[in-house]
Subunit: 355 residues, 4 copies
């Protein structure tokens, strides 16, 4: 892409009032080659953007608009779709049909699960856009760079899946893992639950509390298994348990994986070093240092550390991401960069705030 | 024991400035048959108790005293030892030798590990009191009531082990668990790290952060394995990973256990119902409800829920305790009650504060 | 009152699902002479109490009932009314009319403001029970003990007013304060906003945030002024600003008061020592120590410290309370004790948890 | 300044391990015309920068160096001094003497108080560099732009003073304020206390707690009074009370000011609009909206709202800043920009993260 001033990417965000939508806006503003065209919200049309995203006061002088897919499709090069799952099905299809050169990055789960039946089973809704589903690309840049570069419809990975897949892919690709003994224990901050009010995110009941939820039934499970199975080249079933932790941002995922044969920590570590050597947003920490969510807060990084527990012979892998950035909006921008032939990390270099 | 007003238990606390020591004092004050005799701290002798435990201002008019084991032993029926591990070795021995009718409840790890060599390996110090070690009773009242009733030296369980053992014992006793595939993923509040200053507990670096620590190397591992092996009647090795969470109190432990044969959730649930039916401080939650640390905050309860993940065939068990109470001071009082022939829950009925 | 086992106080709570209602239940359970009769909630009738107050699981085996004022009035000696303001007007009146020996403790604002016109102005609703209003007693035990002992209708003070009035009354009673220059800056935890969901108490927007709210317009202002005017024996107008702080419990109030004439800190301190010497729940801290909300968390105490800023000649007074206890449920129990001729601190001696 | 690629500002940071030093580094990295030369720490020389500022891992490949003032002075255009007060006295003097074209921005309090006697009184140390003190410029860009542009030694304002002075200056400059009745009640997050360990910042004792501290004695008082007196053109004495709040970042300051004559809110608001109209980092909020620290977190903004309390005739002003940015490192960069003839907001446009 020619990146002189005259050739910017015209970007719009549909469903722009939520936390993920807000982060997409914030990151687009920091991007050197993007011009924001439309920010839509049917329920808040007419209100200034800063009324939902107050750090944008005096920074972005725009208002939420009612979503008109014809108008949005006509005036955009890329649309970020940040509406809830199920709602995204028709929004995405309408946009893509309307403008054949438009690219759509969908942050919902609607185009992540390749098998429409599995989608229906876990999301309790029929997939009405199976034709588009076939063309969707799962947007994990560390593994699908070439496909992403050609995608029109990009399914942006979920937050938990991002942390789990990056933690497990190199080990599974090596063939050393027992596919029947993978435990993924994830801990997430409260922003992962979004902006909608609920009793469990009511401050006095979320604060000073720890809980597991959706035990053995969380909807990110099939997404994780789909991708891990691809990396393992064989069907993978996992135990995935999410936990709600009283912080705003961050996912820490601890993975336990039985190995088929004995392995040294150095060997395991090498697998990961090799896999992520040229990936700008995955950092393998130096031995002895374990990931902390504050190391990645406000950034697009995923930090990883690995070890072999010699007493049990299992691999233990810990990953940390900012659930709203590498687990959402940042990865979406990273995907946009690839889709438009730009350097992968453009607009994503803001240094995080670790306290 | 005759519990009329004239026959009270004279209790002292050695190392009374820390968080655990403070909770022991608070609970002793609520106990109907206890009189506090000595509260010792060599570094803070002469200072009022409320200078370290400010909620006791106007409630308890005593001062910390220098530790004189002869004086403490002579005037006490029971001594709670809340000094750090290693330091407890001689404190406990001195007290027990001095007064042959004295009972000691040690809150450190020094008398929990039955095998002195294992202790030396994990705690990096030689066990100098192996004779007393032989007579120590591991104070988990749900399983060792009879032994506790006769103990002079009570080794009060660690906080993580309490949460892990209560979560696993019924399953292991049933013989249904694969002893080679047990993952224990624990999340603890910051009070578990005690009152001593450290960078990782410095507010701006602990707040809004998640981390694993002591991965594959935490000292509570051999304690957990010792007890689980007893319950399983065979050697058990586990993966145990502690995590530091920005809350003050609470441990949530999520356990993953491969089963030898297929089992229904109802069957698993029954094992636990039966095991804990008559245990006043273990609550099996109704199906569909999972433990939260706020349910047990400020109480001696351990809440548990279980399920079978049908897709993987594993049992998933979650337990929640207040690390300073059931994981420390409360369990110590519970043990004291048993050692003195009292009702197990005396002084422990204060209702928790869930917000 | 004869306090043998056979003469207990039969107590009911109307509106028992909220945070204040839950604390009333918890404290009633700890009270030696109370038997709980009815716990009502029209919206949650039939559900177990622990479904809203999970620390009561296995502790209290009761269900919420639909509110039937005839039944509640007939079977109770005292009713705690914990419904929202406006709703309390008819609930209280119905109960009092139904059973002429019943006592009612209202935790809403409906009977606190003596002047019905002022009530209407600030609460935006007509006061429909002015006859009962005339008989209501403002339940601040430190000043109105004799009236409380004879009250049938007790208006339990608001949380902010409790912290502000206890901080200012001794100074105002001394006549040394300039009545035109009183600033009351209060900081409250989020439980003060209650259990109802709202965006400002949504975890990610309340956590890691500080804000003032209802600036120069908070409804507790006329209540504070009414009481301060009584203590000063002259009309008092104040600046009162509440702030929302990301903690669960606690109010810290900082008061600034211009003095009519120069005064030493010792002199000011003496005023307070004298005023609160025999009040079991107000603690004047030793010079050099300032109140912290953790000192009073979980207790009915109000901690106070005072100083004179020599450079400006103003008195600065800081008070700390647990907003749900001394600022609500605990003070209600304290008032109940007085109304039934019991020792003021019965059932309120549970020691707080300072971490 | 010529800002082509070849003419960058060479910047160094002395005392670069602390929170303020870390923020200076982070902002310098985001600045288009700065090259970092030396980052010094005598205690941590040789360690990688990311060992103290972990978000800089893979971002900045430098190590802390021992402080050699000759080397630092020789190779830098500007030095940010982030050592504690007292220590800054000689560091600043040594640097300025060594290289006569060097500019120094001191983040300590050592050159903020113009009167050496006042400094000695409040900081308990003799000012040993009174010659340099005479040449120091107080770096509040909203009022001293011209002086800052010519300064060699810039005294960067304190965090509390920044929030208080921006809140009060327009009112004081108007002459409408009673100079004897100004109350400044500030609430700060824990990062303001810095990285050094202390019991009050130990997580379990800081979390879930509110306290006032340094009541009527905080060292920022003379700095606030010095500047307010300049704006009022008459001596101002204030009541200033800081409070410690369990959040990482942010100061919210609530100011109460008696007026000499009656004034409408609109009139007061106009004073502020006019004063800050062209100041890029002060945002007057729309009527009805009050500042929240999350609106400014991670930014260099100061948000302000004002009102007149008609009942008392006082002005109430609330300001919010990020204590580490507008209250420290960000303001330092803003001052650097002015000192080097650059646009004031260069490198400071990163959008804040409001959740």
């Amino acid at each position: 892409m020619n990146t002189d001033n005259s050739s910017v990417i015209k970007a719009s965000v549909v469903g722009a009032t939520g936390y993920l939508g807000g982060e997409v806006i914030r990151l687009l503003l920091n991007h050197p080659f993007v011009k924001i065209k439309h920010l839509t919200s049917n329920s808040s049309a007419g209100m200034p953007i800063f009324s939902f995203h107050p750090t944008l006061r005096n920074v972005l002088d725009m208002k939420f608009e009612h979503f008109d897919y014809k108008q949005v499709a006509a005036s955009s090069d890329v649309v970020f779709c940040a509406v809830p799952h199920r709602a995204a099905l028709s929004v995405v299809a309408d946009l893509l049909k309307e403008n054949s050169s438009l690219k759509v990055i969908d942050l919902s789960a609607d185009f992540r699960i390749r098998d429409a039946k599995t989608y229906q089973e876990w999301y309790n809704t029929k997939h009405t856009q199976t034709a588009w589903l076939k063309n969707a690309v799962y947007g994990m840049p560390e593994f699908y760079h070439a496909k992403i570069a050609k995608a029109r419809l990009l399914a942006n990975p979920g937050c938990y899946p991002t942390s789990a897949i990056l933690a497990l892919a190199p080990l599974l690709r090596s063939g050393a893992a027992d596919p029947n003994n993978i435990v993924i224990d994830s801990k997430s901050g409260a922003s992962g639950a979004g902006r909608s009010l609920s009793q469990q995110i009511h401050y006095p009941e979320c604060n000073e509390n720890l809980k597991a939820y959706a035990v053995a039934s969380h909807r990110h499970t099939p997404e994780i298994e789909q991708e891990l199975s691809i990396h393992a080249s064989s069907p993978i079933t996992v135990n995935f348990t999410p936990h709600l932790i009283p912080i705003n941002r961050g996912i820490l995922t601890t993975v336990y994986c039985t190995l088929k044969k004995s392995m040294e920590t150095e060997e395991l570590s090498s697998l990961y070093m090799d896999a992520y050597e040229k990936k700008p947003f995955v950092r393998m920490l130096e031995q002895g240092t374990w990931p902390e969510t504050r190391f990645v807060r406000g950034t697009n990084f995923c930090d990883i550390q690995v070890t072999i527990d010699k007493r049990t012979g299992k691999a233990i892998i810990v990953s940390a991401i900012d659930n709203l950035i590498k687990g959402g909006a940042g990865q979406a921008i990273q995907n946009m960069n690839i889709m438009f032939g730009l350097k992968e990390d453009l607009g994503l270099n803001a240094t995080g705030v670790c306290i």
